[in-house]
Symmetry: C2
Subunit: 444 residues, 2 copies
């Protein structure tokens, strides 16, 4: 498979396009998408045009929104309308969010009235809510239906509905009463009543946070979850594959910010170098600004260092260990927040756990530091190093556990508030602790 | 909701168990699971026993394997058998993997013959393969069936099959020919032929890597994927909710190792402090050992520092910036590997990108460093700092991009080889670069 992809890349580089078109015939859509995701903008546009119409539509649907948007920009208006119309309303809105507003509006105008009104329903909900990610095309079953009636309705629904596997059951006022699965319908006698088969529904409000809703769908293993308005009327449905998209995006974001960069939101190899650079440079400068604090702290203690240069040898080790301890704690708590295992109200529980973890870690590594440093540089220095390691670990674990919760409380991304800043914070405070302990123990 | 959970915790702490049992009646299973995941081992055992039988089975199914295993350990053999039998074969195997081998074997012996043989099929595949995560309970449709015959077979399949929504289509020798969706079956006329409705199947070999297979299922938006043996006979199926479990576990693992710790594989608040400490201490010691290298490097350059103490002020800033740049690159590449956007064969592409990104970042931050350090500490020092920042950023971005690929190539977790070690590596080499440049420019 891998060699095949490399060969296809050679074909496009060497402009052997007839050969490439023939090669596409032997690939399934998923493989073609993998291939498109590795190409730069221009090559991708060329390759995309070689696809047969049906395959192109399917492949377009599976691409990242950022790449869809680039392809759209390279097409003529009539072609654009074709691909745009082939998307589900929720996918269409996600693509529109990627594009310049003027282009998005023009494309919306070209849609047929039915599709346009469905798209407008989804557009009516703010960014970041599940309403913006749901599909307004669902099949609702009236609660007084028999199984036969329900199956009849399902079989007529045709291709438009987002899913037929989880069906909201509603009363006369479209109020959600429960859900019934197609699986239960096909396994039951035709005269059985839907009301006897239906189960209590986990539903979400359309204004609810999208990531939260996606996590609930995944945790509770639902294939689809009905979305309701404030009066509990069904307005849409969202499916587990949308939940997967949302969670994958959120996890890419967490991972990137954890590493001190903005997410690329597109495949790495297809991203221009300058865009990668831009995703990192601001973070790097902000963190360097924070690190400038350490220069000032050391400036204050320059006299102490001059009196005892050996103290400077341990600076990277000490702040490195502090940074690592802080990172460990922050990572654990960011992940627990993302999974919904802890919330901001758990701040004291988290603090108390991390203080204890930090102290046990600090004691272990402090004793080792005391012994090793003492052996090589004398027991005075050993005492300073041991005490500093203990203090820094305790401090770093507590701060690392608290920072993500603080970030969440302030409405920011917990991952932003956590790892990149924890190092800066621990570096500066750790150095102060170090030199205070050194001055006291060594009497400088 | 949150306040309710707190109130429930109060009830269990104050042993108001009748009240708790009544409160459970108003909650749905998902909420009960959220509650159980916040409790310690003993409280969880108490709360679990208060659940009605049906709810207990459903809740047990949704719990993490680590927590299932703890609950099992607190139950009598007869009860154990009940919960164990209620699980699907694939979930059962995952639970067995969590438990001591002797307990697992004893429980296996208590199963009825049919369930035991199904479980043994899954147990026959090695850990980490998709065969170990699939369900052997699927409904296969012979290719010559009509829609009516297929629906008849589906409706008789009953509760056992893992899914009825994606149905493998097979020939006489059980060879996989394609898949047909229940959706297409119910929307078609009864006399239509399955062979005309079926689509080409994305399938995976049972020996295939589980995470890879899960990623494919998610990327291509399949609800289920047939699993085949080496002769392309269908042996099982795995569903998108299993894929979600696998990906979530992989992402928790990546996140934890990225932060320099082992994954907890269980909810944070339910994990004993000592277990959290153990998940971190080995990493911390290994990293500290690596950091001891910096002490030695600085020891070598002690003369240079003594001649010019001001050089020591910039150590945390320089190695911090190097670490940040390396982290950014490593994080991007680890994530791209996890998503399948790059592979080990892309090593030169990645290196060439990261060299360019590192040089542009280094030039930007180097010029700034030159100006600021020059202004405050003289242009000599400014030159040293500027040049060092440029070199370190280039070095760190390249190393950060390569490390995860190297890890993957060596068969290790890319996240292990990336972020925690990148800092250590950049710290030590960065210091050498720094003092070499300083000696040359300043003529010490």
């Amino acid at each position: 498979m891998n060699e095949l992809l490399d060969e296809l890349e050679d074909m496009i580089r060497e402009e052997r396009l007839t050969e490439l078109r023939r090669a596409f015939d032997d690939l399934n859509v998923g493989d073609i998408v993998d291939f498109l995701e590795r190409l730069g903008v221009k090559d991708r546009a060329v390759a995309f045009r070689l696809l047969s119409k049906g395959v192109a539509v399917e492949a377009f649907d599976l691409l990242d929104q950022a790449l869809q948007s680039e392809i759209i920009e390279g097409l003529k208006d009539a072609e654009v309308a074709h691909y745009f119309e082939s998307l589900d309303p929720d996918d269409r809105v996600r693509l529109m969010d990627e594009m310049p507003a003027s282009v998005a509006r023009r494309m919306l105008r070209h849609l047929d009235p039915r599709e346009r009104s469905l798209t407008n329903i989804v557009l009516g909900y703010p960014n970041g809510t599940i309403g913006r990610q749901m599909s307004p095309e669902f099949v609702a079953i009236p609660e007084h239906f028999s199984v036969a009636q329900a199956l009849e309705k399902v079989s007529k629904a045709g291709d438009d509905a987002e899913t037929l596997y989880t069906l909201p059951v509603v009363d006369h006022g479209r109020l959600l009463k429960g859900v019934v699965s197609l699986r239960d319908l096909v396994s039951s006698a035709g005269e059985a009543l839907v009301v006897d088969l239906m189960r209590e529904a986990d539903s979400v409000d359309a204004d609810h946070d999208a990531e939260d809703a996606a996590r609930m769908c995944a945790d509770r293993k639902h294939l689809a979850v009905p979305v309701t308005d404030s009066e509990h009327r069904v307005v849409g449905i969202f499916t587990v594959d949308d939940a997967l998209d949302i969670l994958e995006r959120a996890e890419s974001e967490d991972a990137a910010r954890h590493g001190g960069a903005e997410p690329l939101n597109r495949p790495y190899l297809s991203t221009p170098v300058l865009q990668i650079m831009r995703s990192r440079v601001v973070w790097l400068l902000v963190l360097a600004l924070g690190a400038a604090l350490t220069v000032q702290v050391l400036d204050v203690f320059e006299g102490t260092i001059e009196a005892m240069v050996v103290l400077s040898l341990f600076v990277p080790l000490l702040i490195g260990t502090g940074g690592n301890t802080g990172n460990q704690a922050a990572t654990t708590v960011v992940r627990a927040l993302a999974l919904g295992d802890v919330g901001t109200r758990d701040v004291f529980k988290v603090l108390w756990r991390e203080v204890r973890v930090g102290m046990t870690l600090g004691a272990t590594i402090g004793v080792l530091g005391f012994l090793v440093a003492g052996l090589f540089y004398g027991w005075d220095i050993g005492t300073v190093i041991g005490l500093t390691l203990f203090s820094i670990c305790t401090l770093a674990a507590s701060a690392g556990g608290l920072m993500p919760l603080l970030g969440k409380k302030l409405g920011a991304d917990p991952a932003v508030f956590a790892n990149p800043f924890i190092s800066t914070f621990v570096d500066a405070t750790g150095l102060i602790v170090y030199f205070m302990i050194a001055r006291t123990v060594l009497g400088i």
